[in-house]
């Protein structure tokens, strides 16, 4: 069995984003980068199947972007992926979902993948299109927003979360593409032996042309600064109780800031 996991390196969302010179995306200087949260669920799902099947499936982690995205490919390999593919494009941030999908499907069509995992969406662009487009281009089944996944004898059973907490279970034969949602699993933290092994694993670097990048269908024409406005909380009840609750909220927020940790 061959499994492909598509991952993206995204900026940490705590930063303040300013438009780039062309005003078409954000400026990347002074940002710190990390793996897209949803993609970690995708890696964990893939590695768990590999473990379930006694290590026989080969898991490939693929990422598109400039040189720095090797960091997330290494992390994916530290978590248990066997090999990495880096579709190197310094201008990847300016590509539209169709172009990204064209490269992934271009690469995937040569690899004979039975299962493809992607994140539900990226936390920076958030189009939630790439996984679906890849499945469409490969003409394989696609199940989105997976919060549960199991595999048995050629068939996958995927649990999907619907609005309002309802869930639906979808059963499907392979090949299949799954986009992963929060709640699917708790991704493992890479162990040191895993990190050291990952340093020795192969990363294949391909150019956009080699992967068959197509022309864009959409174009970002403007990006504006995000003005953060914290959501309000409405407290109701008796006046003497309210004062206590307000104090508790303030205390909690202050303590959270003081103690460190992302709470």
């Amino acid at each position: 069995m061959n499994i492909l996991v598509c991952i993206k390196q995204v900026p940490d969302m705590e930063a303040s984003f300013v438009p780039n010179r062309g005003g078409t995306w954000f400026d990347e200087t002074a940002l710190s980068f990390r793996m897209n949260d949803y993609d970690e669920f995708a890696i964990e799902a893939a590695v768990r199947i590999k473990e379930q099947l006694g290590g026989t499936p080969e898991v490939t982690a693929l990422s598109i972007g400039p040189g720095r995205v090797v960091e997330v490919i290494r992390k994916a390999m530290a978590m248990g992926c066997d090999r990495g593919v880096h579709l190197r494009d310094e201008e990847a941030a300016s590509l539209d979902p169709w172009q990204i999908a064209s490269m992934i499907s271009g690469y995937a069509s040569t690899g004979g993948f039975d299962l493809i995992f992607t994140g539900m969406q990226s936390v920076d662009r958030g189009s939630a299109q790439v996984g679906v487009l890849v499945a469409e281009r490969l003409a394989i089944a696609c199940v989105t927003t997976a919060v549960g996944f199991s595999y048995m004898a050629g068939r996958a059973t995927v649990e999907r979360e619907l609005e309002g907490g309802a869930k639906v279970v979808v059963s499907c034969a392979l090949p299949l593409l799954v986009t992963c949602q929060l709640g699917l699993n708790t991704p493992r933290y890479p162990t040191l032996p895993g990190i050291l092994r990952a340093k020795k694993k192969e990363i294949v670097e391909l150019s956009p042309g080699q992967a068959g990048m197509e022309k864009p269908l959409t174009r970002v024409s403007g990006f504006s600064h995000h003005v953060s406005r914290p959501s309000g909380v409405v407290l109701e009840g008796r006046l003497d109780e309210l004062a206590g609750r307000v104090a508790a909220v303030l205390r909690e927020k202050r303590d959270a800031i003081r103690r460190g940790g992302v709470r």
């Binding site: 705590e14 303040s16 162990t191 032996p193 800031i257 460190g260 940790g261």
Partner: protein, 661 residues
């Protein structure tokens, strides 16, 4: 009449031969027991504790002869010292008899044990025996009557007490039964130099010689067999500590205490990290388990244990010992339990008070390394989030790195990237950079520097967490990665010296980074401000105030900095009232060992306990010099409703408020 006594009076030469045979057998049995222990210790990894031998030997002699480590806690310590000194003199006396009987008498025909020397010898040994017996009674009452909380009594303890008591008692009976028909009859003046034997003789009653000789033979054999048995059981019971604990005064680390080993991450042969079995600890860690006397002093002082967490440093050490001797392949982490392993604040109160120089903290950190590096485990989900935030953003808050230097806007500080011609680099650390309360400390500190005419630089956005919390939590990989970035950045600016207001940054940059090739001098702001005041480069207007001082573990215990902050605050007009636990015996705030990043889910909270101790002094100010302590106290004071009576301040804030404008 000559003042001496006949050695081996009433003991036939046949008996003496048997005695020597038994002694040889006892020593052989003891040797065999120790060999078995040595084989256990050798299960552990290598570690050199035989360097600087002279220094080690001097410390060994000083420690055991003075009993200074045991005596630090009078309860138990006082009687132990009495027993030790008593037995030391008895041992010396016995050896003297051996030398006299087997060397001087047969070879040279000289009798050392005569005249004034014999009187002194006899009196010393009797008094030593009485002292040992009294001390033993004291220990007996303590262990079996008073029964201090947490003191575990096993069959070994009962056996040890019984053996020691009967050896001393039969010794006096041997002496008494001899004296009853010798000195007491033919040289009563000499008998006075053996008060205990004299008393025993009187208690045995006046008797005829034949009866005395029979009793003497009986007592002599009983005394001998007890002594022989005692020697044989030493390595097999807690009595082994007579060798192993003393030995630890030789083997304990010299210099910086609590130093963790720096893993060579480039070593391709390494594929296991930390300790999940005893074989992954060092031999010294296994030796420590045999040096432990279960005196529970560490447990009494462990902030985790005192506040109801499942961690007792003593139990950890003993669990390691049991595993090494009974089940070397056992999963040590499962035996000790992750809850206990994560509960440690690495405050080192255990190591500080341990009379036998056991290193508890490194063992716990090695097990944390196994949990973290081999299993990817965390003390809790909040710790994982903070760790990942340090990985990505270089601080545990997950704040954007770009905003790290914004606290300094409008203050007399330059960002190194813009102006690196400075007198000192202030390594602000995460808390002073991002936490609003600790930013005030940073402001005070840079104002102090400006008042002393010093140009201060900070790394700002280029600074990252020093790596201390994650290192103490076992994540050596992340620690080395973040350290390497800081070292590269600091080297890039050719920094000559660093000052930090955080004892954790101070200890990490100043000591731990040394293993990574970093050699810029690092100073903590307490000693730095002290020097500025002494050199009169900094002038302040003293203003009277009352305070109590909390010693940060990483200042007082790890770096021996306790006088300096007190001197600084005295110069500022402070009148101190100490808490019950202070200086190198201070009680942790609860935030060390990476616990600043973790919730306390079990027991009561350590910071509330420390705030309670501070309130007991009745002082209005709880002063300290650590951002973690300050954070814990702010939280603890609010939570215990003490806001009206107690204010938590950093030393820099107190000095900053007294600068001459």
């Amino acid at each position: 009449m000559e003042e001496t006594r006949e050695i081996f009076w009433n003991v036939g030469s046949g008996s003496i031969a048997v005695m020597y045979l038994l002694a040889v057998a006892a020593l052989a049995t003891m040797g065999q027991g120790f060999l078995r222990l040595v084989r256990n210790w050798r299960l552990g990894r290598q570690l050199n504790r035989f360097d600087r031998r002279e220094e080690r030997f001097v410390r060994f002699l000083a420690d055991i002869l003075s009993q200074r480590r045991v005596l630090r806690v009078p309860d138990g310590g006082f009687f132990h010292a009495g027993l030790f000194w008593g037995f030391l003199i008895l041992l010396a006396g016995t050896l003297l008899v051996l030398v006299q009987a087997d060397l001087f008498s047969p070879l040279f025909g000289i009798n050392l044990l005569s005249g004034w020397f014999y009187r002194l010898f006899s009196l010393s040994l009797d008094l030593a025996g009485i002292a040992a017996l009294l001390a033993l009674c004291g220990l007996f009452v303590r262990r079996f009557v008073v029964r201090p909380e947490g003191l575990e009594t096993t069959r070994e303890d009962v056996l040890s007490h019984a053996l020691l008591f009967s050896i001393l008692l039969t010794g006096f009976l041997v002496e008494g039964s001899r004296m009853a028909v010798t000195e007491l009859l033919d040289n009563p003046a000499l008998a006075r130099w053996s008060p205990a034997g004299h008393l025993a003789a009187l208690l045995l009653g006046v008797m005829d010689e034949e009866r005395a000789r029979t009793l003497h033979t009986l007592f002599w054999w009983f005394h001998l067999l007890l002594g022989i048995g005692f020697i044989a059981v030493i390595p097999r019971t807690k009595l082994r500590h007579m060798f192993t604990s003393g030995g630890n005064s030789y083997l304990a680390p010299l210099g910086a205490s609590g130093a963790l080993s720096t893993i060579d991450l480039d070593d391709e042969n390494l594929d296991r990290f930390g300790a999940s079995t005893v074989a992954e600890l060092t031999w010294k860690d296994l030796y420590d388990a045999d040096a432990c006397t279960a005196c529970k002093r560490c447990q009494d002082r462990c902030p985790a244990w005192v506040t109801g967490k499942p961690l007792s440093p003593m139990k950890v050490v003993r669990q390691i010992g049991s595993a090494a001797s009974q089940s070397p392949a056992a999963d040590l982490v499962a035996v000790v339990t992750p809850e206990a392993i994560w509960a440690c604040t690495t405050c080192a109160a255990c190591q500080e008070i341990c009379p036998t120089c056991i290193e508890q903290v490194v063992k716990i950190v090695e097990m944390r390394r196994s949990l973290t590096l081999m299993e990817g485990q965390f003390a809790g989900p909040e710790v994982r989030r903070a760790t990942e935030a340090i990985e990505v953003n270089g601080n545990p808050f997950g704040a954007a790195p770009a905003s790290r230097g914004t606290w300094a806007e409008g203050l007399p500080v330059s960002i190194m990237a813009e102006e690196s011609n400075v007198d000192l680099l202030y390594f602000a650390g995460c808390y002073a950079s991002f936490d609003p309360r600790n930013r005030k400390v940073a402001e005070s500190f840079v104002r102090i520097c400006a008042a002393a005419g010093l140009r201060v630089g900070i790394l700002g956005a280029e600074e990252r967490c020093c790596g201390e919390p994650v290192r103490k939590l076992g994540n050596e990989y992340l620690y080395q990665a973040t350290a390497a970035r800081n070292i590269g950045t600091i080297r890039n600016y050719g920094v000559k010296r660093i000052v930090t207001a955080c004892p954790h940054c101070f200890s990490t940059l100043g000591k731990d980074y040394r293993d990574l090739g970093f050699d810029v001098p690092v100073e903590h702001h307490t000693t730095f401000i002290r020097r500025l005041l002494e050199e009169r480069r900094l002038k302040i207007e003293p203003e009277a105030f009352d305070f109590t001082w909390h010693d940060s573990c990483y200042l007082a215990r790890y770096s021996d900095i306790a006088d300096e902050p007190r001197a600084v605050l005295a110069a500022a007009g402070g009148r101190i009232r100490e808490m019950a636990l202070s200086r190198n015996e201070g009680f942790c705030c609860g935030a060390g060992g990476g616990r600043i990043l973790a919730e306390e889910r079990t027991g009561t909270r350590i910071n509330l306990e420390r705030v309670r101790m501070a309130r007991e002094t009745g002082m209005p100010v709880l002063a300290s010099a650590c951002p973690f302590c300050l954070t814990m106290f702010e939280e603890g004071i609010t939570a215990s409703g003490a806001g009206a009576e107690l204010t938590s301040l950093d030393l820099a804030e107190i000095i900053g408020a007294r600068l001459i404008k």
